[in-house]
């Protein structure tokens, strides 16, 4: 017994020593730290990228923080972050501020984000215009007959107000108006899908990755930019070309053209592996 214990202990100690050596060996090398700061929408995507990237580049450490696109751009201007992740364009005033401090923001589009409108498959409505969507979510329209459907009540579903998608939808579809008080706020995208699957007369909005994942259980509506326009489905191609209206590009901003480890990381994000991760996390690739 004692022998076995001793042997086990020895084995464990040797193992630990080995690990220690490995650790210190790693620490001995130069580790470059790249910081990414900005959009909360992109935090998940960026950390997925960072994880995959660090697997193959052990000498680079990517640290990801959110805080919002504005916070990220401010950090870039103050020189406290290497990369700013932003879900909106940099404003002219911000660019001017940056140039005053000798920083030249360079924009790289890394992914696109699109929002699909989903209804129950048994709902005969096929398409809605942005204006009709706005009226549904602000409580002007309460029955499907007002948008070309049967005379049934509309159950409008939304994400919680803490969601970036909520704010994006409010800004671009509701034209910054408030959501109606009757709109049901669901705690998660999956809960919206679940309710749309179960309730024949409900309508919801979700990231297009989720909508496509739900398959034939939900019906994705075509969206018309104007009343007279053509309805566009949120396909990757339509989001890519900008024809689909409820979509936005996601950017990385760097000070000047990316170099060194930052360039490696940006190139990885734009490369085939990076863009595969974009698709897996529910966004639309740019390539």
């Amino acid at each position: 017994m004692r022998n076995v214990t001793t042997r086990t202990l020895t084995a464990i100690s040797i193992g630990l020593l080995g690990m220690l050596a490995a650790c210190s060996g790693k620490k001995g090398n130069e580790v470059t730290v790249v910081t990414v700061k900005g959009s909360d929408t992109m935090v998940h995507l960026v950390s997925m990228w960072a994880e995959a990237f660090m697997k193959n580049h052990r000498d680079v450490e990517i640290s990801t923080t959110g805080g919002g696109s504005g916070t990220g751009i401010a950090a870039l201007i103050n020189g406290t972050t290497d990369i700013c992740a932003s879900s909106r364009d940099i404003k002219d005033t911000e660019r001017a501020q940056a140039e005053q401090k000798g920083i030249t923001p360079v924009e790289t589009m890394v992914a696109r984000d699109g929002i699909a409108i989903v209804v129950n498959p048994r709902n005969p409505v096929q398409e809605l215009s942005l204006d009709q969507l706005r009226k549904i979510y602000t409580g002007v329209y309460t029955r499907w007959s007002q948008v070309g459907g049967p005379n049934e009540p509309i159950t409008a579903l939304s994400r919680e107000s803490s969601s970036g998608t909520y704010v994006f939808f409010q800004e671009h579809v509701l034209n910054k108006e408030d959501f109606a008080q009757t709109v049901r706020l669901m705690p998660a995208t999956s809960a919206i899908i679940q309710s749309v699957v179960l309730d024949r007369w409900s309508i919801g909005y979700v990231g297009i990755g989720y909508a496509h994942e739900a398959g034939p259980q939900v019906k994705i509506l075509g969206v018309k930019a104007t009343e007279a326009g053509l309805a566009v489905m949120p396909t990757e191609a339509a989001v890519h070309s900008g024809e689909y209206s409820i979509a936005r590009p996601l950017f990385f901003y760097t000070d000047g053209d990316p170099t060194g480890a930052v360039k490696q990381f940006v190139d990885f994000c734009l490369g085939p592996d990076g863009q595969r991760i974009v698709r897996e996390t529910g966004y639309v690739p740019v390539q």
Binding site: D40, E152, P153, T155, E160, S161, S162, S163, Y166, V167, Q170, E171, K176, E177, D178, F179, Q181, T182, V183, R184, L185, M186, P187, A191, Q194, S195, L198, D199, R200, W201, S202
Partner: protein, 322 residues
């Protein structure tokens, strides 16, 4: 003790001052020292015992500290409104009426659902069931109390909401009624086990007297045992309500969370707990919205606090009567 003090003395350098102190310890201290250590132990025990009081105090303190700046800036009057629109490009509004009515409505429905099941179940368990039945039933009741609320919430979303929708011919099952039903389910174990304790502690002489006077079993139960245990049952119901009003996850998944001031059971409501849970995660630190959420927390804490105090009072009166 002796060992410890002698050890200490050894380490002292033998300067004059230390010698004096040494003498003082040897001659003067013995009795006071035992008193002192005794007090030390006593204080430790009191502190350990009152940890929960201290914690509650600290929580109150913390809540008020975080909520206080709201009084100056938007002012408490901005809480008195019926529009809760914390994220807006127009004007942020923090009217808490819809949240309060939402919590009240869901709690009321849950109580109506849970009381008959809880109390009648307790009567059966304590007065009618054979020991074998009790032994089978009790673990299941305890199991129901132990199911994580998010699991119950998922059950509510996938099973109960469609059921309510079909049963009442609604366009969606995401409403206050489904939430109340689900929470009632969660309150049943609390109500049942506390009521059962109350019923069991009714003195046997009461029942014997009733039976001796010719009352049958049903009469004895409803006219003697239950009335005698009523304060305990009331306390059980209040404790159950306390559990319901503070429940978050399950209610968040099935009530639809639309902040509207309504008392109609088939409308969607937003409870105070769901609001805090849904919004606290992403709220900018120190903003008006953040402070408003703390006010919601204070109201919630005061409500559960009062419910518990009343329940304790009722229970106390009951045990005195015994």
């Amino acid at each position: 003790m002796d060992k410890e003090s002698s050890g200490k003395q050894d380490t002292f350098p033998s300067s004059d001052i230390e010698t004096n102190r040494f003498v003082a310890q040897e001659i003067v201290m013995p009795r006071p020292r035992t008193k002192w250590t005794e007090r030390c132990v006593e204080v430790t025990l009191v502190v350990a015992a009152s940890t929960s009081i201290i914690l509650v105090g600290l929580i109150f303190l913390f809540l008020f500290r975080e909520a206080a700046p709201f009084v100056q800036h938007p002012g408490l009057s901005s809480l008195m409104g019926d529009r809760w629109i914390p994220v807006s490009f127009q004007k942020e509004q923090f009217g808490i009426y819809p949240l309060v009515t939402g919590s009240i409505l869901v709690t009321a429905i849950a109580t109506v659902v849970a009381v008959p099941f809880g109390v009648i179940g307790a009567v059966y368990l304590s007065e009618v069931a054979r020991p074998a039945e009790t032994e089978t039933l009790k673990p299941f009741i305890e199991l129901l109390a132990g199911i994580p609320s998010v699991v119950i919430g998922f059950f509510g979303l996938v099973v109960l909401a469609p059921f309510v929708k079909a049963a009442f011919g609604l366009e969606t099952g995401l409403n206050a009624f489904t939430g109340g039903l689900l929470l009632g389910l969660m309150a049943i174990p609390t109500i049942m086990s506390v009521s059962e304790d109350a019923l069991r502690s009714v003195p046997a002489s009461y029942k014997q007297a009733s039976l001796a006077l010719g009352g049958n079993q049903i009469q004895t139960i409803w006219r003697i045992t239950v009335p005698a245990a009523l304060p305990g049952i009331v306390a059980a119901v209040m404790l159950g309500m306390g559990r319901v009003i503070g429940e978050t996850m399950a209610v968040m998944m099935v009530t639809g969370n639309a902040a509207q001031t309504t008392f109609k059971p088939f409308e969607s409501v937003r409870t105070m707990t769901a609001t805090i849970a849904a919004e606290m995660g992403e709220v900018p630190f120190g903003s008006d919205h953040y402070r408003a959420l703390f006010w919601v927390g204070i109201i919630l804490l005061v409500a559960t606090f009062l419910l518990n105090i009343v329940a304790q009072r009722v229970l106390k009166r009951y045990s005195v009567r015994q």
